[in-house]
Amino acid sequence: MGREEEAETQTSICKDAPNLLSFFVDTFVDFSVSGLFLLPTPPLQNPNPSISRSLPPLPTRLPSPSRLIAVGDLHGDLDKTKQALRLAGLIDASDRYVGGSATVVQVGDVLDRGGDELKILYFLEKLKREAARSGGKIITMNGNHEIMNIEGDFRFVTKTALDEFRVWEQWFSVGNKMKGLCQGLETPTDPFKGVPMSFHGVKREFFDGFRARVAALRPNGPISSRFLSQNVTVLVVGDSLFVHGGLLPQHVDYGLERINEEVRDWINGSSGKFSPQYCRGRNAVVWLRKFSNEVAQNCDCATLEHVLKTVPGAKRMIMGHTIQTAGINGACENRAIRIDVGMSRGCGGGLPEVLEISKNSGLRILTSNPLYQNMGNAGLNVGKEELLIPAHGGLREVEVKA
């Protein structure tokens, strides 16, 4: 290669160097925080360069897939998360997505009560990208604990979780310093701008952890904008209406697409510290328990029916948020399906169960509860672990609690 050619090649490579450096740093930081390497971000569905800063709309209504899996509250327990996904045949023993073209909906409350919050967020992100390649879809939703944490309400944070965020911040900051050393890159925004140095009434030893959590999770923080802004708040898939707490008629009137867009905009920092009004208080979409009383007859079935009538095609509402000690069950003639089984260690460690809705088999509960194992396995000498989480799981009918 002649000298001129050399110089040209060097220049053209160096034009790319800042982007490559940035990509390297992001990969290194992600690995340091989560132990994972992610597939590249899937391309945007509707790239529209003429509209600046516009994101493709969040999916509010989706058609019926051939297989739909609903997963309840995870609350910072990565092991239980994996158990639940394995139970549904969605991941293999190496944590690879093997769910094919299934649609998976996780109804919120990844955060709080456990120490694996970032690990779960990263793990679900990894699976989302793997699923996209097989024509599958993994949709995560906002629970009340996501909303609370973005607002700075840390009442249910655990010590381990605080530590996880403290470690995240150390690597994230190193990454920003590395990017800052490359002249071709814009100096990254300081995630600590406006974050207090101290917290009144809090033990000094925890200041670092809380600073990190505030920086990460406040509106437009690195973790909320990267992961939580992808969450929907209300969702219709086929004839199932998904929401963390519950929907009231006024929420439907307000507009489901509008709710999703407003909450996302809030998470991205466009409307200050506090979430929209329908996310706060006992009648909030993420706090309602009207259809989730464990004593089914105490549920407000009349209102539920009213809501379902106003959402075209909706036959049932699927909700998390209220721990069902008996496992997944239905109320109001199975028009309200309650899928929070309190599986996190921090919630009592309930046995993992997931709801399956498929074209072939309708509504089924996939459970790790040994009472429901296939009778055919009864003679086999299986290890204790396998009894609890067999490859094909146990099935039971959706119970209607009298």
Binding site: E5, T9, Q10, I13, C14, A17, P18, L20, L21, F23, F24, T27, F28, F31, S32, V33, S34, G35, L36, F37, L39, P40, L118, K119, G152, D153, F154, R155, V157, K159, L162, E164, V167, Q170, W171, V174, K177, M178, G180, L181, C182, Q183, G184, L185, D190, F192, K193, G194, V195, P196, M197, F199, G201, V202, K203, F206, F210, V214, R218, K273
Partner: protein, 154 residues
């Protein structure tokens, strides 16, 4: 500074590939090994007639760019270069997943030298000196609270 790897990262390191970071070419997934060795060979023999440069050569060029210059200096410059090179040459679907060893080496160096990539000798971020413009209130968990003492009731 007390940087710590997450438990996941530690587990990943102990359970998965053992990489030798002394090799110039990375050993990728089995289906790209033969390609790698072809490229390594071409680079070794300095294939001047080929206008298309090998991945190795391109990666080395990237290391010479102005953007990278400051990152190569300092106590972790070597580990950074090894990790960055490996990353550039990685053809794994999850780019860099075959670079666990140099990544871990870089992590260790950073843990030992927390200011390795700080901008100036003084090393402190300016952000630490700026005061927040308004009180950002959190609701802390009970276990993190200072015990109420009679004095504080004044």
């Amino acid at each position: 500074m007390g940087l710590a790897q997450s438990a996941e990262a530690a587990a990943h390191v102990t359970q998965t590939q053992t990489q030798t970071s002394t090799q110039t070419s990375t050993s990728n997934n089995s289906n790209s090994t033969s390609l790698d060795s072809v490229l390594a060979e071409a680079a070794a023999y300095g294939n001047n007639d080929d206008t298309e440069e090998s991945i190795e050569a391109k990666a080395q060029r990237a290391l010479e760019c102005p953007c990278i210059a400051d990152l190569r200096t300092g106590p972790c410059g070597f580990q950074f270069s090894e990790a960055f090179l490996c990353f550039l040459k990685s053809t794994a679907e999850e780019k860099g997943s075959d670079c666990v060893s140099p990544f871990v080496a870089l992590q260790s160096c950073i843990k030992a030298n927390p200011n390795a990539f700080s901008k100036d000798v003084l090393g402190e971020d300016e952000s630490e000196k700026s005061e927040p413009t308004q009180e950002y209130k959190i609701l802390p968990p009970q276990w993190s609270r200072e015990p109420q003492s009679p004095k504080s009731r004044l």
